[in-house]
């Protein structure tokens, strides 16, 4: 299980919540049938990439503590869900999945419960919309992924174009499959990139209990840190839950969500990607891009085909170990060098302002790796086992 995943809990699992507040007993007398989760709204100091510690609120999994962003809720379309949300902070908060469920105001010390049916398969942002965008941007956000009950796409009702794209993965000449893996997109080959930005001046005000005017934040937000799943720079680039890793012929789905205010323009090197859904609208016209916008509160799905980078000079039929043997053997940089194999490329936001941390320190902002470990025929590139 992905360690950021939300832990499902039975009634015993939520015993640490105030059952009195809940008016709920372990016999599950409400008649509810389905999975139960617990969330705590808390605060912590999160260390930024340069060591500065920044106050943030977060939705916490009570069993694992503060984490940025909140834990991933992973469910199947149509499944029933019950979530207990406890506000441990000194001001009102709430839990909302826009268009799906709304806890209403949760006063300090109180616990609310929401019961709902998982909507159509797709990518959802859960958040605290109170005093918007302040509570969301200061950390109260997380992702919910809804998977379809059936089919070979990430959607309950794919459009014809999206269905054709997923049918073609691994079954056509333009999307050949990796020799040792099945054709098609495998659900496990998915990433969530929850984007956010931090302007510590606003966090400091929240820490001191000073009310933040949303209009002030929208007008004057000047982020110094740009994060994917709470991480920046080399730490995001080397995070196994963020980086794209695979072999040629192993497509991957990336779900981008932007909890912040900055318009990101994420650029993938080495492969164009297909934008398959925008804010849960499965696309009728599936366009390929190398750079695409993820604005405030946007939810964008990319299908990265993991084809061999198409513009490598030379015969596309020759395995790369024979076409670029010298590059794959090279270590550039002497004693502090890193081998050129396997093939590693970047994904970064091309609004290069977001490649900074603390006003400079390029490239310690919104960036990660895109790694090709092996060739189509099942033979890995040198050093792939060390990744």
């Amino acid at each position: 299980m992905n360690r950021r995943d939300f832990l499902k809990t039975g009634m015993a699992g939520i015993a640490f919540l105030s059952l009195k507040t809940l008016g709920c007993s372990s016999s599950n007398s409400s008649g509810y049938v389905g999975d139960t989760y617990a969330l705590t709204i808390g605060a912590a100091l999160f260390e930024m990439i340069d060591g500065n510690k920044v106050f943030m609120w977060s939705f916490e999994d009570p069993q694992s503590g503060p984490h940025m962003p909140g834990p991933v809720i992973r469910v199947e379309a149509g499944e029933a869900l019950r979530i207990f949300i406890t506000n441990t902070l000194g001001e009102n908060h709430s839990f909302v999945i826009p268009g799906v469920v709304d806890s209403g105001i949760i006063a300090p010390g109180e616990t609310a419960v929401v019961i709902f049916t998982a909507p159509a398969a797709g990518t959802y942002l859960y958040l605290d919309p109170l005093n918007a965008p302040v509570n969301r941007v200061l950390g109260l956000h997380g992702a919910m992924v809804v998977l379809p009950k059936s089919g070979n796409t990430p959607y309950s009702t794919p459009t014809p174009a999206v269905q054709q794209l997923f049918n073609d993965l691994g079954t056509t000449a333009h999307f050949p499959k990796h020799a040792l893996t099945p054709a098609g997109w495998q659900q496990a080959r998915s990433r969530i990139w929850l984007l956010n930005q931090v302007d510590p001046l606003f966090n400091e005000r929240a820490e001191n209990g000073v009310f933040i005017d949303p209009a002030d934040m929208k007008a004057n937000f000047l982020p110094r840190y740009f994060t994917i799943n709470g991480k920046s720079g080399a730490f995001a680039a080397h995070d196994e839950e963020i980086e794209l890793e695979g072999r040629i012929g192993q497509p991957m789905l990336v779900r981008l969500l932007n909890a912040g205010l900055f318009t990101h323009s994420n650029h993938l090197h080495a492969n164009h990607f297909y934008v398959t859904a925008i804010n849960n609208v499965v696309q009728e016209n599936v366009l390929a891009h190398d750079t695409f916008t993820t604005g405030a509160e946007d939810k964008i799905d990319w299908l990265v085909p993991f084809i061999r980078p198409p513009d490598i000079a030379g015969d596309p039929g020759i395995p790369l170990r024979d076409l670029i043997p010298n590059e794959l053997r090279l270590t550039i940089g002497g004693d502090v060098g890193v081998p050129q194999s396997p093939l590693v490329f970047p994904m970064h936001c091309h609004n290069e302002v977001s490649q900074t941390a603390a006003g400079g320190n390029y490239p310690q902002g919104m960036v990660t790796h895109f790694e090709f470990l092996g060739d189509l025929d099942g033979v890995d590139f040198p050093n792939a086992d060390k990744m």
């Binding site: 984490h67 174009a161 900055f262 190398d290 490598i312 000079a313 970047p346 091309h350 490649q355």
Partner: protein, 376 residues
């Protein structure tokens, strides 16, 4: 009660050098390690300092990439045009310091991709090599301290032209401004269509405060033993604080207070003239750090994005061209490109506005106007 602290994480000992390379890429130069005989060789050198002239006599220092085969020194840097499926070699010379060139949207091996942290920064010279398989609009730029180097002007358009059909009077690569051929959904003509006139809307925004900074401004200290040590970070930079005061279309610039329209006197590539019945191709590149919005006074058809022609099989069979009716805004965040086809049916001067919206607040910062002139 003391707040819990969530640490940023440790650098795994086995990844220390990889973290170091992320921050301080190595330098390298010379021949390509796996050279293939090129069909075409391009020559570029960087960097060259020039001044961008403003209509009020003001001058802004820029850095550009020179075409050393003919000495062209322009902002944006001179457009590169090559033919689809050619093996291209680009001899890149660094006159001082180290740089790279990334061929944005072209997808070669890491050493030919021009990103220092995944390969190297060029010391002296290097022969980048790639073979573009998809015709369309791309760009090239320096990928070192990119937040500054891209802003300073180290970029230019990169166009992959489809080969001309048999019997064509023009041959690829085509001249800037047309006529020529481009990739577009057209099953009857092999997905290649002609155009008569070509325009470039390369929109940019400039914060003149940044244009006094040095090459390595606000970079981290290089420490191979402890690459991510907080002490290595600079804290005095302001490269997160972009406040544009100059707005640009394809090299022509206006101060934020200057509403002077952009005309053919600036460049016919910005404000083109076409006849009724002709085809105009507009290549749009959003090259600033704000969100750029393009609104045309006549109907257009979006035929491609990011060097991929909608509907062109096999990879683009999941899409079709998208109408862009007159008056409907098209918004692009940085580094995105789109290609528009316009086939005017009536004569007139049709307005075009390019508006620049703040990346966070969404506030409109500047509205540039230009036009498309259609003659009978």
């Amino acid at each position: 009660m003391a707040l819990p602290i969530v640490p940023r994480g440790d650098v795994p000992p086995g990844e220390r050098l990889d973290f170091f390379k992320h921050i301080c890429p190595p330098a390298f130069g010379g021949a390509n390690p796996d050279p293939i005989t090129p069909d075409r060789t391009i020559f570029r050198a960087l960097l060259v300092g020039i001044e961008l002239l403003l209509s009020d006599g003001g001058r802004v220092p820029m850095w550009i990439i020179e075409d050393t085969s003919d000495g062209t020194r322009t902002f944006p840097s001179k457009t590169i045009r090559v033919v689809r499926n050619e093996v291209v070699r680009c001899h890149v010379q660094c006159r001082e310091n180290t740089h790279t060139i990334h061929w944005h949207g072209i997808e070669p091996t890491p050493m030919n991709d021009g990103v220092g942290k995944h390969s190297f920064e060029v010391d002296g010279s290097f022969d980048y090599q790639w073979q573009p398989r998809a015709a369309g609009t791309y760009f090239y730029h320096c990928h070192k301290n990119t937040v500054l180097h891209f802003e300073m002007g180290l970029y230019g358009l990169l166009i992959i032209d489809p080969k001309e059909p048999a019997g064509s009077p023009v041959t690829a690569p085509y001249k800037d401004g047309g006529p020529g051929f481009c990739a577009a959904f057209s099953p009857d003509t092999g997905h290649v269509i002609p155009y008569d006139v070509e325009a470039f809307w390369v929109s940019d925004d400039i914060d003149s405060r940044w244009h006094t900074l040095g090459h390595n401004a606000f970079m981290m200290k290089c420490d191979p033993d402890d690459p991510a040590n907080p002490a290595n970070f600079t804290q005095d930079g302001f490269l997160n604080d972009f406040r544009p005061d100059i707005f640009v279309i394809t090299g022509a610039a206006r101060r934020i207070t200057d509403p002077t329209p952009f005309t053919a006197a600036d460049s016919p590539l910005i404000a083109p003239t076409v006849r009724v019945g002709q085809t105009l191709l507009v290549r749009v590149l959003s090259a600033g750090y704000e969100n750029h919005q393009y609104t045309l006074g006549l109907d257009a058809l979006q035929i491609a994005s990011d060097g991929r022609a909608y509907g062109e099989p096999p990879f683009q069979q999941y899409s079709r061209p998208v109408p862009l009716p007159a008056g409907e805004p098209l918004r692009l965040s940085t580094a995105r490109r789109t290609d528009l086809i316009i086939r005017p049916t009536t004569a007139g001067v049709f307005p075009v506005t390019i508006e620049y919206f703040h990346r966070v607040s969404g506030k409109k910062l500047y509205s540039a106007t230009t036009s498309i002139t259609v003659t009978p």
